[in-house]
């Protein structure tokens, strides 16, 4: 099957199934789909789509990096939140001119996320705790720590909500979209080049294709795990830093968790087989579906949850036809 058909057939199938659901609720499917498309990409909607796409694509890339070697980082939420809270603390307390503070805050986010994800890698390498478990379980204390910090030491005294004061150091916005978008695009570009053109990227792919072959060829898996997890966590931390340095310029407890950036990002990375461009496209597509869903809800009374159904159906069809989840099972 050609690549185009691999995508086109499941998309068409999902649209047809969605149309049947819409008809069953007495809605004109064309109107609903039209509302999704114009809501996602029309002049009023494109800003929302991009604003949502920045964290989703960022997290998708973060999780794609180890996934390329067959390693799953389930701790994206913890790394994201830790990056955000570290950037916030630097932004609040480190003195200096605004731009310097922004850069230091971004760096702090990257370092915090990278270090925390690396800890999970060390757990696997040294203690034999599978990465799947070490990343996921380390995520909870990180989220709890951030929740504590923002309720007590870093709380906005004038507010009753669990949120920090606003930062004065900010990433500028263009038409409501954070300039952090350029940082995310840059990260994806770097990932794409490393993936396609460097020995390190090659070793990562070999490990993903056949781990025993990689070991035979002398690829040091523990070292690779550590590096990939650090890169992954660093990217997640960067996404967190970008989030607090953009509107509303503060850390609000749960604000980075509720929108499901991490899990939608993980889905995008899984569907694209962690390829850099594919991951980006899938992430933007899911972001568009979500912001389009809000628009559809406003225009047609169809609840936006329908887009979640569409998304789920689409993922199932994509997975079934492309066999992304099948490869391992066939070998066994």
């Amino acid at each position: 099957m050609s690549r185009v058909r691999l995508i086109a057939v499941p998309v068409a199938a999902a649209l047809v199934l969605g149309a049947i659901l819409l008809l069953a609720t007495g809605t004109d499917p064309l109107a609903a789909y039209g509302a999704i498309v114009s809501g996602a990409f029309g002049p009023d909607g494109i800003g929302d789509t991009l604003a949502y796409a920045v964290p989703v694509a960022g997290m998708a890339t973060a999780l794609a990096i180890p996934l390329r070697a067959g390693m799953v980082n389930l701790g994206g939420e913890g790394q994201l939140v830790l990056g955000a809270i570290s950037a916030l603390a630097v932004g609040l307390y480190v003195p200096g001119p605004g731009p310097v503070k922004v850069i230091l805050a971004l760096l702090a986010g990257v370092v915090a996320g990278a270090a925390y994800a690396a800890l999970a890698a060390v757990c696997e390498n040294r203690l034999g705790v599978p990465l799947l478990i070490s990343t996921l379980l380390l995520s909870y204390p990180a989220m709890s720590l951030a929740g504590y910090l923002v309720r007590f030491p870093l709380k906005d005294a004038g507010s009753s909500l669990p949120q920090s004061p606003q930062l004065s150091a900010r990433l500028p916005e263009i038409d409501g979209v954070t300039t952090g978008i350029f940082l995310v695009v840059a990260v994806i570009a770097v990932y794409a080049v490393i993936d396609a053109r460097t020995p390190a990227g090659f070793e990562t792919k070999v490990t993903g294709w056949a781990p025993r072959f990689a070991a035979y060829a002398g690829i040091d898996r523990p070292k690779l795990t550590l590096r990939l997890l650090a890169a992954s966590g660093g990217t997640a931390g960067l996404v967190g830093a970008i989030a607090v340095l953009g509107f509303p310029y503060r850390f609000i407890d749960g604000a980075l968790i509720t929108p499901q950036y991490t899990w939608i990002g993980l889905l995008a990375a899984l569907l694209a087989g962690a390829s850099p461009l594919g991951t980006l496209l899938a992430a933007v597509f899911f972001a568009a579906l979500t912001s389009g869903g809000f628009a559809m809800e406003r225009a047609t009374q169809v609840p936006r949850e329908l887009t979640a159904v569409l998304q789920a159906v689409l993922i199932i069809f994509l997975a079934a036809t492309s066999g992304v989840f099948k490869r391992k099972a066939k070998r066994a």
């Binding site: 053109r197 070999v206 056949a210 035979y216």
Partner: protein, 505 residues
């Protein structure tokens, strides 16, 4: 011997097509009652397809199957076994945790008032074992049996179902020479009581030794058939490959130089006190092939792991004057180790990735594939093309997925990759397992040429004829220890075979 009529098995004009392949092209096969009939052919010649048709796994597109003169049609192996046709597959289908009896009766258990009648089962199995002199104990757990005996359990399963026609697919691949001899004894006895044996094999000597008649397939067609007594090894090989093959050529000895590789006291502890590798010391010189003979599972995997660094071991290894102790796999490779592993698909390659990527592995951090830190696409392509051409790897191109190549071509590609390193020391495991006769010749010649170019080669193989054909010295590994050492002149089928079975002396 004269052929009793009618034939026990008669396949007429069998045609079986798979998408893009004509696997069987009007194949006729006649097997008389009480006959041991060998079916030969290279990989992909259509032997397995033909046996699957007879065994009910595939329906033929054309042609008829007759048993004892009566036309039959099987929709499943269950129908075939009901009609008296049974097959012992290459990988055994046994439950390790269950006893011999339980394995044998599984699927058609004797019952009493709806419950398993253990007494009747044991009595029936015991009787079969005694009648056929299979020397099994009904109560033994299959897990604890050596491979040769497990195979007999498979045969016993067929006898329990009263199969008159027994198909055995490459039955000797996992056996020691003495075990092979005993298997042949069992087969002869079964034939003597009028059962019909169909032996699928590519081993010429065995076919000549045990069969009454032989049929050779090539490219889905019968390329030779007749009484085994009228055949020669060379003739059968030519019928299999379609050309003259230099068979069982014992390559002349090399001229060993200085010691390149030295291992001292390699030890791998086992689970219950008995080490898997027990104080193994050996040396390999430049321009020398040292063969390690032994039945699979006697420490070969541990020896290989100890050398490559994939396994933590006791003892020391010196390669090219440099100690490898504590070094990583990569550092060992950098020190001068190249390695053709036993498991082509899981360890030696990435089947889903392209030939190009598979061939680049190991060279991907060195010039000319890398310049200024970046991989060069053109250099990777050239590197792959050069190996594909030099080693005659048949593939649709460098982009073809490794897993789509035939076993022989995968092996040639892996050989090409590892030999291209030009490393002073080459570790080769089972170089021709599952590889066609034609490719075997090619691979053996490559190994000898590599030796003659001054490289040290350690050859680990369960194929005794291969060890004898290539080695300048032969070591025998038995239960984790080196129990015997032979020079090229001393080593022969008998002496080495005896040592492999533990009868060193």
């Amino acid at each position: 011997m004269t052929r009793p009529n009618p034939d026990a098995v008669s396949l007429r004009g069998i045609v079986k097509r798979f998408p893009g392949v004509l696997a069987n092209d009007h194949v006729d096969l006649d097997v008389g009652r009480g006959e041991i009939h060998a079916l030969m052919g290279e990989n992909g010649a259509g032997k397995s397809t033909l046996m699957s048709v007879l065994y009910g796994l595939h329906r033929p597109d054309e042609g008829t199957i007759s048993l004892h003169g009566k036309e039959v049609s099987f929709g499943s192996p269950a129908q075939a076994i009901d009609a008296g046709v049974g097959m012992v597959q290459q990988g055994f289908a046994l439950f390790g945790e269950l006893t011999v009896t339980e394995n044998v009766v599984f699927g058609s258990e004797p019952t009493r008032r709806g419950l398993l009648d253990r007494k009747a089962a044991t009595a029936r199995v015991t009787e079969l074992i005694e009648r056929h002199e299979l020397r099994l104990r009904p109560g033994d757990r299959v897990r604890d049996l050596p491979v040769g005996l497990r195979q007999r359990v498979e045969i016993l399963k067929l006898l329990y179902r009263d199969a008159g026609v027994l198909i055995l697919d490459e039955p000797t691949a996992v056996l020691t020479p003495p075990e092979t001899e005993r298997l042949f004894g069992v087969l002869r006895a079964l034939a003597a009581e009028d059962r019909t044996i169909l032996l699928v094999s590519h081993k010429l000597q065995e076919v000549l030794a045990v069969s009454d008649h032989v049929t050779v397939l090539r490219d889905g067609r019968v390329s030779a058939r007749g009484r085994t007594a009228d055949q020669t090894a060379a003739g059968l090989a030519a019928a299999m490959t379609g050309r003259e093959v230099d068979l069982d050529r014992v390559h002349p000895a090399g001229t060993p130089g200085e010691t390149v590789f030295e291992a001292r006291s390699l030890t791998v502890p086992g689970v219950e006190g008995k080490p898997l590798l027990d104080d193994v010391s050996l040396t390999v010189c430049a321009g020398e092939i040292v063969g390690v003979a032994g039945v699979a599972g006697n420490g070969q995997a541990e020896l290989s792991g100890a050398i490559t660094g994939l396994l933590k071991t006791g003892g020391t290894i010196v390669l090219n004057g440099q100690s490898l102790d504590g070094l990583s796999v990569r550092a060992r490779r950098d020190a001068g180790l190249a390695h053709v592993p036993e498991d082509r698909a899981e360890v030696g390659s990435a089947p889903t990735a392209g030939l190009r990527e598979n061939l680049a592995v190991g060279f991907h951090r060195k010039r000319p594939l890398v310049r200024k830190g970046f991989l060069r696409r053109k250099a990777i392509d050239d590197h792959a093309s050069a190996i594909i051409e030099d080693y005659d790897v048949r593939a649709s191109g460098p982009a073809a997925a490794m897993g789509t190549l035939s076993g022989g071509n995968q092996q040639k590609a892996i050989f090409g990759r590892e030999l291209t390193h030009d490393a002073p020391f080459l570790l080769v495991e089972q170089p021709t397992r599952g590889v066609d006769v034609g490719a075997i010749e090619n691979i053996h010649a490559r190994l000898v040429a590599h030796r003659d170019a001054g490289h040290a080669v350690l050859l680990i193989s369960a194929e005794l004829s291969e060890i004898l054909a290539l080695s300048d010295r032969v070591l025998v590994l038995f239960e984790g220890r080196i129990v015997a050492e032979f020079t090229k002149d001393e080593a022969d089928q008998h002496t080495v075979g005896l040592a492999m079975a533990g009868g060193a002396g």
